[in-house]
Amino acid sequence: MFEHDDDIVERMIRQLRRPVSLDPGLAARVMGEIAAPAHPGIGRTWPWLAAAAAVLGAVVIAHPWTRGSGTSTAAFQFVLVAPQAASVSLVGDFNDWDPARSPMRTAQGVWATVVPLAPGRYRYAFLVNGVEWRADPGAPAAKDDEFDTPSSVVTVGGRGS
């Protein structure tokens, strides 16, 4: 019996370790779906969308542009899959760690928001239901957290101030 279980586990591990090939346009399509409000097909596409978002985690570089000051800025989309959450806020070095500044919008439990970021290295986290701190599962962890809560890091290239 145990050998049989081991075989199953081995097969599962082999399956999980198989290389995965993703369509290069997948990220853009997923983010397009998330950004579109009241998408008529959201109920139909939800399982695919949730799975893709979970794989992608957060942070997708979208549209670089230049502000009046000349500092290049890029739009980053942050995504968290949290079907049970009643509210999710994005907080980090880019919004003074103020939960009111970047509330995230949800489509069937996939929470998303877009933030313009100038070049730099930013620490951030998700605040779920106003009390629970969560790191971004799709981004590098901030290892030097000094406040005993998980945080993540996003780095934007280019010449900063």
Binding site: P19, D96, R121
Partner: protein, 201 residues
């Protein structure tokens, strides 16, 4: 005396109104660190953000002050390693690299072999260590790729290593394999300045 204290408090808030979210004692202590850093020519925005992170996360005042002081010291160390011309993002990334275990010599070497900005290269080094790659392996990898790889290539390299680690590869081995693939391509005269999209194992 009370008037003087009130004036000082008003002055502190006027200088950094965002620090009003901190309790008065913590705010005063943080402001002293911030002002000292400003006087030393260090960027103060990272210090303010660290204080705000602490207060948003409900940390005790002493802990917030300690974190801000430590960051100020590390920004100073990063500036020594990177030079006085380093930008704020480079200094922040330099702090992350130093805290990850990169030596000042590694950072100075990186400055020698790669044109600025070094933000992404330093961040990739720190993020690799955060993924479990030994600090010396991460430093060796970044230094090997740094002369020719674009920022996007370095980010792709980091993602590829993280992908391999997630699939069960030992972090050091994953880094070596990926850096060898990248270094071969970077040395190709037909494709200067780029590193190939690493093949999946």
């Amino acid at each position: 005396m009370i008037v003087a204290a009130l004036l000082l408090a008003v002055q502190v808030i006027a200088q950094n109104p965002r620090l009003e979210r901190l309790d008065p004692d913590t705010r005063s202590a943080v402001t002293i660190v911030v002002d000292s850093a400003r006087g030393a020519g260090l960027p103060v925005e990272p210090l303010i953000q660290r204080a705000l992170e602490g207060t948003s996360k409900g940390a005790a005042g002493a802990r917030i002050v300690a974190a801000v002081r430590r960051l100020a010291a590390d920004l100073g160390a990063a500036r020594v390693a990177l030079g006085t011309g380093a930008s704020t993002p480079e200094l922040e990334a330099g702090v992350a690299a130093l805290r990850a275990g990169a030596t000042p010599q590694v950072i100075a070497h990186l400055r020698d072999v790669r044109r600025p900005p070094l933000t992404i290269a330093l961040s990739v080094l720190a993020d690799l260590v955060a993924s479990g790659v030994p600090a010396d392996s991460a430093a060796t990898a970044v230094l090997a790729l740094a002369p020719k790889a674009r920022d996007a290539d370095l980010v792709e390299f980091r993602r590829a290593v993280e992908h391999d680690i997630a699939l069960g590869a030992p972090p050091g081995a994953a880094t070596s394999v990926r850096v060898n693939a990248g270094a071969d391509f970077a040395n190709s005269p037909s494709s200067p300045g780029t590193v190939p999209r690493p093949r999946r194992p």
